[in-house]
Symmetry: C2
Subunit: 345 residues, 2 copies
């Protein structure tokens, strides 16, 4: 497969979120993009434009990055197997986004119309299905069933996590264990499998591969908690969505859970009414209370704990090429967490 010119097919600018390490991945992500576009030919002509629309190049491509970094070898040139595996995990992710946007009735994602708005919810359900199916079709093109097994199992878990989250909307008694279980399934699982596939297909040892998978899992946990924190403390223009959507939609994420558990009884009762949807949410008031009750440091601590656990898993393999790169990813998330705090402080 020819390496395409990065000018024409590289994602527009390095994703800000994970910083410098993505610079190393420019050729890899350009090749991924070119590979994904090439896959459009495998779709029936009648839906090619629709599938193309979903391949939105402005995404962060974090899961593909995990595949490439975990599979990092002696030279920087991306191996075909890694590109294909990166395409598989990204297509699964894109399919879940298409379905998520239907469920959230979201009009915009990354600054442009969602597939749901573009083609209607009916078509988008099927389009997401077609992307899923194609991800598994690509997975089945490896010599053994290993990739198919890992990806289909993961996909079911991701869906299960999303189902649990959906069923718990407006529920006010969600526990930390409930929350942990959901993010484990809906986010950490695909991060984990991305690293697992990278390690395996990059020809690394079973030991390192298991360590990379655990790093991916913990990074996924950290990233999801960070994302839930950014919903309250982020910069709207930077994260590209309206703050407080979780409060408005009755999603009891960790920041809200910590606030719920720290508020005095009277205020807690009001917050619970807001989460249950029986009262207009008072976002400004809740943000002020999050400051008063030190919600940011408590949730931030959970991000850092997961990151540390992931880094610890990699420690015995510090001499391997992928490790410093994966650690940079963790470092970048730490920096983002710090930046999140800055504007609110």
């Amino acid at each position: 497969m020819p390496v395409p010119s990065t000018e024409s097919s590289a994602p527009a600018g390095p994703p800000k979120d994970f910083g410098a390490v993505f610079d190393r991945l420019r050729p890899h992500l350009a090749e991924l993009d070119s590979f994904l576009r090439g896959q459009l030919a495998a779709f029936e002509p009648e839906i090619r434009d629709l599938a193309d629309y979903c391949l939105d190049a402005s995404g962060k491509r974090i899961r593909p990055a995990l595949v490439f970094l975990s599979g990092w070898g002696a030279d920087d040139r991306p191996a075909t197997a890694l590109v294909r595996a990166a395409a598989v995990v990204e297509l699964v992710h894109l399919a879940t986004l298409v379905h998520d946007d239907i469920m959230d009735a979201a009009d915009l994602r990354r600054g442009r119309g969602t597939a749901a708005r573009q083609y209607g919810p009916e078509t988008s359900v099927l389009l997401g299905d077609a992307l899923f199916a194609h991800a598994l079709y690509l997975a089945a093109q490896f010599p053994t069933t290993e990739v198919c097994l890992a990806v289909s199992d993961s996909t079911r878990k991701v869906c299960t996590g999303e189902i649990m989250q959906t069923l718990r909307r407006r529920a006010v008694n969600v526990t930390r264990a409930d929350y942990d279980r959901v993010i484990e399934l809906k986010t950490a699982e695909l991060f984990r499998v991305s690293c697992l596939l990278g390690g395996r297909l990059g020809g690394h040892s079973a030991d390192f591969t298991a360590a990379a998978a655990e790093f991916g899992r913990q990074l996924g946990i950290a990233y999801q908690i960070y994302d839930d924190l950014a919903d309250f403390f982020g910069d709207e223009s930077r994260i590209g969505k309206t703050l407080g959507t979780d409060l408005r939609s009755g999603k009891l994420t960790l920041p809200l859970m910590v606030l719920r558990d720290r508020l005095p009884a009277g205020e807690r009762a009001l917050l619970i009414e807001e989460i249950a949807g029986r009262r207009e949410p008072d976002l400004a008031g809740r943000l002020r209370q999050m400051g008063e009750y030190d919600v940011f440091p408590a949730v931030s601590e959970a991000v850092l704990t997961a990151l540390a656990a992931g880094e610890a898993a990699l420690a015995p393999h510090a001499a391997l090429a992928p490790v410093p790169l994966l650690l940079q990813l963790g470092g970048a998330l730490r920096l983002q967490l710090k930046n999140l705090r800055a504007p609110a402080a």
Copy 2:
């Protein structure tokens, strides 16, 4: 795998639609049912009940029947590989039904609440995804990637067919070629793959397997046209749904297309207004016109043409065990077609 007692796990009564040949398949379908129930353990505990709800044993199980019949061997005992393949195609089919019912906002299927009504559309989108993912997970448990490749490719085609159909709702210029393409993808493809997998996994020759696949494809075409005919000429209590849904939803199926092309200009203009959704559909009037303009025999002819093509594909293999059984399936569809006419005549 133990053969379960047919008393506890057999589908409730033989599916009426395909008659006697299903009697031969009782133990096979009982084993399939038991296998599918056993798969629930592979789902995360939190969604087991939801997945269980979708495994509705009252379905016709036509696709599994095609797997078993195409793979028919020396004895009647279903081979494990065939049971697994039957489970794969049935799970893909069930997943598409879960998603279809969301899109049609259907409340009832086979006389009970749809998953969409039971759990809400958001959860049902994800539940369908989880069923898809599990189908591919089962497919990945074969020794080679062959089943995964065939099933994921088919699944994408099925979704593509459904997308095309969705995008053409209320379109009044649909041609016979458009219609043929949609049913080829949305129905014939999975019938085809069911026979292909049966032939392969049953250890039959490549020649016979290709012939069985072509029979399955043609049977799928015949079955879909029959189904579209039953929407106008069926017995509501027997087919379990309200007649005329395609007219009401603006789906230009073959019976409507033939009527459109045979009506005089003035009446045609009215029908077109109905399909476009700009005029209340006059079902009784359209049924009367279908009688006057011989729509039934014209559409019926298309069913019989496809059946004959499928049977012709099997002719060179008449001596093989699966062939008389597959032909019985075709015979049963012929009989159903005849019965469809009876009440209207």
